[in-house]
Subunit: 282 residues, 6 copies
Amino acid sequence: MFFHKKELQFEAKPERPDPVFAKKLQEVLGGQYGEMSIFMQYLFQGWNLRGNEKYKDLLLDIGTEEIAHVEILATLIARLLDGSIYDQEKASDDPAINAILSGSNPQHAIVSGMGAMPKDSVGVPWNSGYIVASGNLLADFRANLNMESQGRLQVARLYGMTDDPGVKETLSFLIARDTMHQNQWIASIKDLESKEGVVTPSTFPSDLEPSEYSHAVYNCSEGEESSKLDWLKMPAPDGSKISYEQGRPFGSVPKLEPAHPKAHDTLPMEDVQSSDPENPMK
Amino acid sequence: MFFHKKELQFEAKPERPDPVFAKKLQEVLGGQYGEMSIFMQYLFQGWNLRGNEKYKDLLLDIGTEEIAHVEILATLIARLLDGSIYDQEKASDDPAINAILSGSNPQHAIVSGMGAMPKDSVGVPWNSGYIVASGNLLADFRANLNMESQGRLQVARLYGMTDDPGVKETLSFLIARDTMHQNQWIASIKDLESKEGVVTPSTFPSDLEPSEYSHAVYNCSEGEESSKLDWLKMPAPDGSKISYEQGRPFGSVPKLEPAHPKAHDTLPMEDVQSSDPENPMK
Amino acid sequence: MFFHKKELQFEAKPERPDPVFAKKLQEVLGGQYGEMSIFMQYLFQGWNLRGNEKYKDLLLDIGTEEIAHVEILATLIARLLDGSIYDQEKASDDPAINAILSGSNPQHAIVSGMGAMPKDSVGVPWNSGYIVASGNLLADFRANLNMESQGRLQVARLYGMTDDPGVKETLSFLIARDTMHQNQWIASIKDLESKEGVVTPSTFPSDLEPSEYSHAVYNCSEGEESSKLDWLKMPAPDGSKISYEQGRPFGSVPKLEPAHPKAHDTLPMEDVQSSDPENPMK
Amino acid sequence: MFFHKKELQFEAKPERPDPVFAKKLQEVLGGQYGEMSIFMQYLFQGWNLRGNEKYKDLLLDIGTEEIAHVEILATLIARLLDGSIYDQEKASDDPAINAILSGSNPQHAIVSGMGAMPKDSVGVPWNSGYIVASGNLLADFRANLNMESQGRLQVARLYGMTDDPGVKETLSFLIARDTMHQNQWIASIKDLESKEGVVTPSTFPSDLEPSEYSHAVYNCSEGEESSKLDWLKMPAPDGSKISYEQGRPFGSVPKLEPAHPKAHDTLPMEDVQSSDPENPMK
Amino acid sequence: MFFHKKELQFEAKPERPDPVFAKKLQEVLGGQYGEMSIFMQYLFQGWNLRGNEKYKDLLLDIGTEEIAHVEILATLIARLLDGSIYDQEKASDDPAINAILSGSNPQHAIVSGMGAMPKDSVGVPWNSGYIVASGNLLADFRANLNMESQGRLQVARLYGMTDDPGVKETLSFLIARDTMHQNQWIASIKDLESKEGVVTPSTFPSDLEPSEYSHAVYNCSEGEESSKLDWLKMPAPDGSKISYEQGRPFGSVPKLEPAHPKAHDTLPMEDVQSSDPENPMK
Amino acid sequence: MFFHKKELQFEAKPERPDPVFAKKLQEVLGGQYGEMSIFMQYLFQGWNLRGNEKYKDLLLDIGTEEIAHVEILATLIARLLDGSIYDQEKASDDPAINAILSGSNPQHAIVSGMGAMPKDSVGVPWNSGYIVASGNLLADFRANLNMESQGRLQVARLYGMTDDPGVKETLSFLIARDTMHQNQWIASIKDLESKEGVVTPSTFPSDLEPSEYSHAVYNCSEGEESSKLDWLKMPAPDGSKISYEQGRPFGSVPKLEPAHPKAHDTLPMEDVQSSDPENPMK
């Protein structure tokens, strides 16, 4: 169960309105790697966890914290929209206003009435296809590390695209939290890898896995630059030796059975033209 | 530029048709972590890379290989559909046929005519919101490691849900390749981390990041199980010390400006009722 | 900012596993009118509100409560999945197991590993196109009343589709909360309507609105059953009189200008054939 | 069955082209609350209705009328696109043209060739997840009232964002129709509420609903501003008394069973570390 | 503007309920090639047409007719749902009921209350990404011919999957209409091709198109079966001669510039390691 | 199985960066009719084909070639982004930079770090709902001809919207390939039509199709312009005679059964009010 405190976890006070930047900030609120993705992913992972109470608590700690990050960004965006997005009938007179108007998101004026939206920087609605909670902690912590990595990268890019000190201060807080969270998932991943090995799921019996395919890089793109990567000379993370081989097929040419008549698929024309001596497919 | 060889990279020969399992297999072809996601993600990362030719070549090697995995699964699914999905008017007479019919995907009969579809196991179309190519290799290799982890997990689950030896053989090949690819991305991540540090992007100046927030776990879910995690006692992966603190706000209660009249938002009612002495918001 | 307590707001203890019902329950967790829609809609409305602190607090009260409802349903679904969804290789031997397997959601086995998902009962991911926060409270409270109405309806339907007393108990709690929330939004709507009138937005100047079109029902579907509705004989909710008229056009036949040559649209063929005396469009 | 008359229901004649406003107008054609949503919702509600012929006729009357509103907007948008959207190679020379070009929707030039699209103002395709037809009229009429409220709000906002008298005239017609339709659904809702009560569905037996939860506001957001709402002192719309209580859990801490081995979920680590005396979860 | 007549264009009377077939029928109502796609595509093409009034009228004739096909299918589906979809608590006792329950769409019970939905056979909402109205009639008529071809194919498949004479009769009407519409678009395409040539858009100047690439089949998939297609020996439809060539690159290896520092992309590591004599990329 | 060559199939060298055009070019990479749609559609059609090896080979030839077109466009877009998309804090000072910044896609800066994305020109992710592989070649080749028609149209429009000679050269290559592919599918369609007739699927027995509906144009839009189309006077493509008739219903007014009580649908009110003599529905 959840409770809310009115104070923001961190201030969200831009020096001046900037509807164009408000549009861009939506990316880290409602985009693929925005805070909505992050809090949802952590909460679902926590709720679904079966045992492992320390990690369950950690997931609920951070998932709960991240809702506050959406709140911070929503507030920041609402304040950046305190400007002239409705004075759009004057377009073409003043280039500076034009830049604002054509670079802002029309839905901030028409749909949300100067409020933040659960959408990304181009206006695509957030959807849960962005997130995962698989029940396997090692797989999921790797998903989490990816999310904090992409998220911190995006906030760092946005930091360089504004000169508003208030906005920069809020973004630097979010960057700092992502630093913590990258550290946290790296440490958690190491913890799990030390217990169960680096290849997940560790519970799939190794004798069911054909070893001739499990440690070979197949060169399928002409040129052998990839063969010079240093780690190819070292044991693989799971201890085996990696080989570098030319990509090649191990299977045969597939030939499918004719379709059921009720499929109304095109009938095989070879059957009709079967006297053609040059057709090697017969 | 690309070229195609008719042979499959690996055989895809089920012993018998099984339209219900064909439906399930769609998950690892066209789902969030299916082979379509994997090959698209690698190709876009490779095409967009600016410098770092060894990794560019590696991404194109493996991205190209993964198209062949879609081909293998498409063939496997088509063959699993060589059964009675069209004999559906007989429903309710034979329980075994009923199970097949009600557990199969109707679109395999109506839309694709006994062919595989670029959709997941419940029929949701694949979309590119599943993948990422950010230009930052460390972030993207973590995305790749996640994808191979979730992917191998899903194939391992499917392996346990069939007893067809032909299907199992193909799945074990895919599991083996995912073993290789997990190893590969772990090694690549270590390579990059050794060069630029574990927190990405490494190019964001550390003095711009408020250090009081970057190494603290905030306890926002009642109970302190998370405080007992072993790694909390050790230095963080980036070398700093992590503190465990009670979650608390650093910001103030947000109060937004009234909306522009053209927004037609609800007017603040406090202004009208301003003589109310008990309203602490004034 | 948010905080989490480990206890559930209400128990979620089914008597026995039922993966088929778990699939159905996803509708009220991650469907169009599921709890995810509800908590997101309330939180965004609360965060975006400009003034009107009593309602802002109410929205944050209930938005925060509703996250707990997602948590309840996620727990309920996870427990309903404590069954045999992985024993799927035996299909066709036992009709009862077949029913479970073909009626369950394969992603509960392949993707979430026995956990709830942020998706609906057919597996479509939740997306934020389901919700609204417009900044206009009267409009939004009507959206909220609709959501609680559809939501209670769906839970009531699900209540009739199970005979598990544990599940029924949890559902009856959710139904009771929706009773409260319907009452709450009806009361809030009345409050706002009494202040600003029933037609929203009330701030659009009435003299800009052509009155001949604002209180007429146009009969566009043959038959006049609709003319017999009792409320047609009474003043409209905003006090005007409603007329019942035959649907008819007030505009003319539209004719568009030819396209720009760079559009490569089809050229108007009439220009070429302009001597045709029978073409009434010339 | 449907028939079409060539005349528009209302004129759609802008004074001059304005591709930037054409982009914005797409919101009320193909957005969440655009005319496509409205006509589709009414037609599906009408087609699915079982009995209640007066309302069925009303739904088909208005659903049919609303297709004409899409036609009006499509014509208006096509005419607003009669401008220079293809002269885009000259960008950066003339600020006024730049504003047009960067503020217009590139798909109006590339995809639709100067025509309207079934998409919203940022280009997201319309989807039927926006609409509902539940079979329960009271729930659905509340959905309809919401739709007409959000729709009128959006058109009113757009009205303030243009100074083209032709566009304003068309928009004022749409606003007037939405006035009618808000009145209509309010009256219809009152009609149904007077027959079956205000809480829907009215057919769920009240004795199955735990009354201790059905009329309590739970304060889950710190601060008690919401407790001062006037309607809290009055009987609820359904006649009961509403209480204001502190949010608190009624359930226990959930603990899930370990996963099936075939799930390959992470095993509970507590089992391994079970001698830890400080872990309160055991 | 549109008008509605209560009679269906054709009867929709199944002999008996069949919720499983109702689920399947949704494909041709709200799927990629369902009637919703068809009527929307024709209406948008008609509304956007600039000149060419005969074809504009034809598009509006058929677009208007097709709304009636949605109405027919919605009625058929509602009647097929007149069965036992709510008696789901008895599952596992009666195999025949189980087949119905696990093969039916839970949303028909939970969401639409025994009504049709604007979704496909697996429950994915209809979206306007399925349709096109480009302003170029030849391109669009080819889209229309495709739609009538895929649509007739899907209805023909469904015809073979039921033995209900009432359902079959309705489906045969829809098949007959698709026969007409395929004929119609083939004739219209021939008409346009005879006026402007077969390659669209015909208005792109042929001298701007490099002729060495415009009539060559590139063999990019090993094996030369495609070279034996009869039409390769004949002049191309536009009169030129087609050559059959081995696929090969005409461009060079792409090398991208380093990224802007604010992108925080990974820096080119070659610059650091530039003394490596074996790196051919330098 | 697939192999990659580093050289591009054709050069992709713009003369200068142009982030605004980069945004537009995304349409033909990741839009509804972009190269991603084309290569995916051809590969799935090829993989699913049952017999007909010549066409299977052709589909794999061209599907494989089209991956290279995505590669060309990705490279072209990356190079067009070699500009100032990150210098966005200076907005409003320089109108030319403003035009670039407000007309560019913010995700090229925030998400992809100066790389191409698998999305369209407004940023909507590619999804597989755009494509089809039905198993029926005639239907699918018509889908393919449509795709090459819409695709060539869009590239031709983009050609007219830039004056960069390097970009124009690449686009003219793509236009030339689309010329080839239109010719190819027209020829293939003729081949199939000559073997099985023009109406697809040809395998649906003609005696099951009511002939009175299969060759009539129904005039459902007032006015008879469509009756003057020349091809109405000629035999239909399948040899029959087409009639031109006034649209009219062949069915009756539908009346649905009352809903199951567990649906909680609104009860039929007519039953209650049954003494009303003027209600013609009784």
